[in-house]
Symmetry: C2
Subunit: 638 residues, 2 copies
């Protein structure tokens, strides 16, 4: 283990080697100007002609030779023999060098008289005012933006020489199936190569994704040789197994030079760099988040060192919503979701494993923890690089608690109104905790039906002096999901799947077993716990278990039989003072809207009699019913 660590290159060493060991390919291509947005100018672009090409009048008036007006005054008006009537934007004939405003001109017969001398070039928009012929429009290295195109077209430029680079991407691994093929057990879609292609194409690279190569050194060698011949950079996407990586390493050694294998970067440690025929060969790790690190922190800087524009990095300062540990000695890159609570940006880490791609999908940024750091306390201010429009942050509500399809439907309606919902699913208890720590706007909670609110207070870790309001989203039908329609009396002979303590499914099960007088430990599988209700449905669907407790909508989405046995209230807990926040107000309006009612009815398994009712949890835990009128979801009040 120690030996391995000693072999790892630091981020800085690896980057320095990568960006200095290879000559820039200096490949360019000519593209039509309308297709040049996002590309980098390879040869300076000059104006084909001056704009405007001739002198134009900036006023309505007469064009004159300024020297003819010398000495003109009220006492000594000058009658001009030679001048021309012009309006704003008209061409000034070449013999004239000034314009006198029509208000300052007296017509006398067919002649014009002026009473003040014209300064040369007054009220003239001279030829070349915007740009002069042959002048530089775009320097080499300029990243072309949409509004640059207007200027280019105006200046007569129809095509541009831009930087180009050919990148060959080789997927290796016998476990890979191509895009669009459903993987069997133990197989995965070749997603890392697809991601590499999309990511590097955004920088202007021409990416060729080559056919999948199985774990055979000879096949890998042939593919690599051919890719190096046709490309300026080759990315070889290693399988996730150590065996595949070893093949890649030995193939690079056999036809070129291995510069390093392994970087002190997480995720991304198994990265490799080789040189074959003077060209870089980048070994991409198999775990998707590791592949992302290597693409963003190594492949992009390599192209940048060749003149390509880096993907924009927009840093913000955010406070950590929870502690974040880090391996000292490793530069770590951690996906985060940044949200704004009050005036403070909070960043919530989204898992550090290299495996879970949902972490980056749900995140809107990432942070870089330098190698010496062992971790940060909750509340530490960090720099987060956003992967989304910063403006979206203030339009986003952060919901932490228990997710249910009912919330997904609500989020869909909210998105249509420009209100984004960022929801995470750590469960009821963690949701309450986040509400107490002020690191979420609201907590969606699945709670035993019709319970007095005071029973919830035991769940609240930091009730301090805050007051909570509970907005009723819907009543959820819960019951026994099975492939074959098992009911309570069949459970004794079935393999059951349970969920963790404190989860709604567990609470329903325990209540049910007590009512039926069944000893929990006699239930085959009572000790087999999965995370939540959707995990129950997967376990039953896959035959891992025969039955479990979940919600009606989840059972139905998994195509399972369902016997209802109980109800739960799906509530949105929020601090009372946030009820006046327009975003929470919008959410309440949507919860009460006929459109939302219709969506819940369509999906089934919900009842909405008290949807939109707000209850207040006072500090002394006394239940107060909302003074709001009863909700009639058929009325068009939403």
């Amino acid at each position: 283990m120690v030996k391995r660590y000693l072999e790892l290159r630091s981020l800085e060493e690896a980057l320095t080697l990568l960006t200095t060991a290879f000559a820039a390919p200096r490949r360019t291509e000519k593209v039509p100007v309308m297709q040049s947005v996002g590309r980098v100018v390879a040869e300076p672009v000059y104006a084909k002609y001056s704009v405007p090409e001739v002198n134009l009048s900036a006023m309505d008036g007469i064009a004159v030779r300024s020297r003819d007006t010398l000495g003109a005054s009220d006492q000594n008006p000058v009658t001009l023999d030679h001048c021309a009537r012009v309006n704003t934007g008209n061409i000034i004939p070449p013999e004239f060098d000034a314009v006198i405003m029509i208000e300052d001109v007296w017509e006398s017969g067919s002649h014009f008289q002026v009473r003040r001398a014209a300064v040369p070039w007054q009220h003239v928009r001279p030829a070349g005012e915007d740009i002069k012929e042959n002048k530089l429009v775009l320097p080499r290295g300029h990243l072309i933006r949409p509004f640059d195109i207007g200027a280019l077209v105006t200046y007569g430029i129809t095509s541009i020489e831009v930087l180009a680079v050919n990148v060959g991407i080789i997927p290796t691994g016998s476990e890979l199936v191509p895009l669009g093929v459903r993987p069997g057990p133990g197989q995965v879609v070749e997603s890392n190569t697809v991601m590499a292609q999309v990511f590097l194409s955004q920088m202007g690279a021409h990416c060729t994704r080559l056919p999948i190569v199985h774990d055979d050194p000879d096949l890998i060698r042939d593919a690599l040789r051919s890719a190096v011949r046709d490309n300026d950079l080759v990315i070889i996407s290693a399988g996730s197994s150590a065996g595949t990586r070893d093949f890649t390493e030995s193939v690079i050694r056999s036809i070129g030079e291995l510069l390093f294998h392994g970087v002190a970067v997480k995720p991304g440690k198994p990265m490799m760099l080789g040189r074959v025929e003077g060209k870089p060969v980048l070994g991409l790790p198999g775990y998707p988040l590791a592949a992302q690190s290597v693409l963003r922190e190594f492949a992009a800087p390599l192209l940048e060192s060749w003149g390509f524009a880096p993907a924009p990095r927009y840093p913000v300062t955010a406070r950590l919503a929870q502690a974040l540990t880090s391996d000292p000695g490793f530069d770590e890159f951690v996906p985060l979701f940044v949200g704004c609570i009050g005036d403070t940006l909070y960043g919530t880490p989204h898992g550090k494993g290299g495996f879970a791609q949902m972490a980056t999908v749900k995140a809107n940024g990432y942070t870089h923890i330098p190698a010496p750091v062992e971790g940060y306390e909750a509340g530490t201010e960090l720099t987060v690089f956003l992967t989304t429009d910063p403006g979206s942050i203030e339009r986003t509500l952060i919901l932490t608690g228990t997710l249910d399809p009912a919330l997904e439907e609500l989020a869909g309606l909210a998105h249509d109104e420009g209100l984004y919902i960022h929801a995470t699913n750590p469960g009821n208890t963690a949701g309450f905790l986040a509400l107490g720590n002020n690191t979420c706007h609201a907590s969606p909670l699945v709670l035993p039906a019709r319970s007095p609110l005071k029973t919830y207070t035991s769940l609240i870790k930091n009730p301090d002096d805050r007051e909570l309001a509970f907005i009723h989203i819907a009543t959820i039908e819960m019951g026994i999901a099975s492939r074959d329609g098992l009911n309570v009396t069949d459970l004794a002979n079935a393999r059951f799947i349970n969920t963790r303590k404190g989860t709604p499914s567990r609470m329903v099960l325990d209540t049910l077993l007590a009512a039926e007088g069944i000893d929990p430990l006699e239930l085959n599988g009572y000790l087999q716990e999965v995370h939540d209700s959707p995990a129950v449905a997967v376990a039953v669907r896959n035959g891992f278990a025969d039955a479990g407790i979940c919600t009606s909508s989840i059972a139905s989405a998994s195509g399972l039989q369902f016997i209802p046995v109980a109800h739960a209230d799906y509530e949105l807990a929020v601090q009372r003072d946030l009820l006046t926040d327009p975003r929470i107000g919008m959410l309440i309006t949507l919860i009460r809207s006929p459109a939302y009612h219709a969506l819940l009815m369509k999906s089934g398994g919900y009842s909405t009699e008290t949807t939109g009712m707000i209850r207040h949890l006072s500090t002394d835990s006394i239940l107060t019913e909302s003074p709001l009128p009863a909700i009639n979801p058929e009325s068009p009040q939403g």
Copy 2:
């Protein structure tokens, strides 16, 4: 005039009307996942299957039924009848629910023995750990990013329903010529429609640029009718003349409703909004920068209100490098270039006219001056929205002074090294002033050849206690440019074109006339001044004048005859303490490089004997020669 102003809609009124008067078209289309980057999800995307689909081992060891291990201890080892050897990543057979690390397992014959109970699900990567079947991957409204594609592909998603919108763009104006056609005098390329297409396409709109329509109400009406039929939004790009705008207004009135004509926004005042068959018709002003304002501040928010992702706006706080005036009553949008001098971001306004597109090409951001504000003092802190990667700012040197093609060549070399040059051309005096005010890194100056540096000090407005160094870029050949090879003795009979006082061309001319004993006012055209040397070449090339003084390289670029008469030194003035700045160091290295020498030789008109020499201007104005060795441009020292 007052009447007109009363009719103008405020920015806020116009935006409110625009974003509430039209129903969202709710058009969607299915695109392959690899082409979906930058698009907005129209229908929620769910995982086709769980990932991983089955339980996988997270360790090398044995897969067991946890209940079989109950009670195992050192004193009471348990021999397992039923278990399976698994390695990291292997599938765990469905009957097992835990993995015991191989280090904690003892082999006894064909059996495994364990000495500690396994907790259910220990060292198991459960099915659905990344995502569970049918779970939400992307909500409606999500802007798809490159790394999202990896997740989508992994989860079996090959195409996505995204928001779509059809935008028809009609260019009107008899003065327009199509893209790629060289405009005659008074004509312009239809660049605003091209810009609109490129800009809105970036947001995911399908733009159809329709054929140019001449200034004829019947033709405009037919084009508008047909465009409204086929599109969700029609943009009608008005010519810059008032007549064209009036046609557009009357056509909208004749087949629909004109909601307003004129907004209190600069540039962008002549904007129009109409409604035809319930669809928005946006009248785009003719001036390019006005068209940009309207596209960015109105068309983009309209699409945003329909669910499209806004172009990202990345705000930074910058200090104004110079005062900025504004029309009270108008919301103004001003292009700025933001640069970093020391630790401070400075924003330099880049012209406020609607005409000059180079203003936005050279700018890297813009600021919004609210209607009530009359202007800002130099030094005021403003919010600037960047149009480039913020990271590019610290890689950019700001040069203010007199530009020459020699600097463009240098900037090209610098770009290849990742060093960006932002150069503006207000002339020697303004360059010195910027250096004194610390709002540029260095000033390129064209100065009379071989003059002692102390003669420059009269040009320095704020010499205070700073010391300047002068880096010699090249010696520039200056002379008489003409179409027919005129020399000094021919000038008496020629029409001459002069430049402003203090410009290098003017200094050379005055010295020349004095030496030849010619009275300046006897020179036909001495009083006709243009901005600088390139403007002289344009005037002579276009026949506006017969001769003028410019540099050899500029004359040659304009295809003019050239008689050399003098030399000028092209110097880069910089504060002495900035000589240690690595970016200035890089620039000096490039100035001294053989590659730069070769470029200057190739372009002609320069001599480089003293290129790279550094002279110091002490506070007591005594010339000090640089102790550096003489430069030999043939040696590979660069």
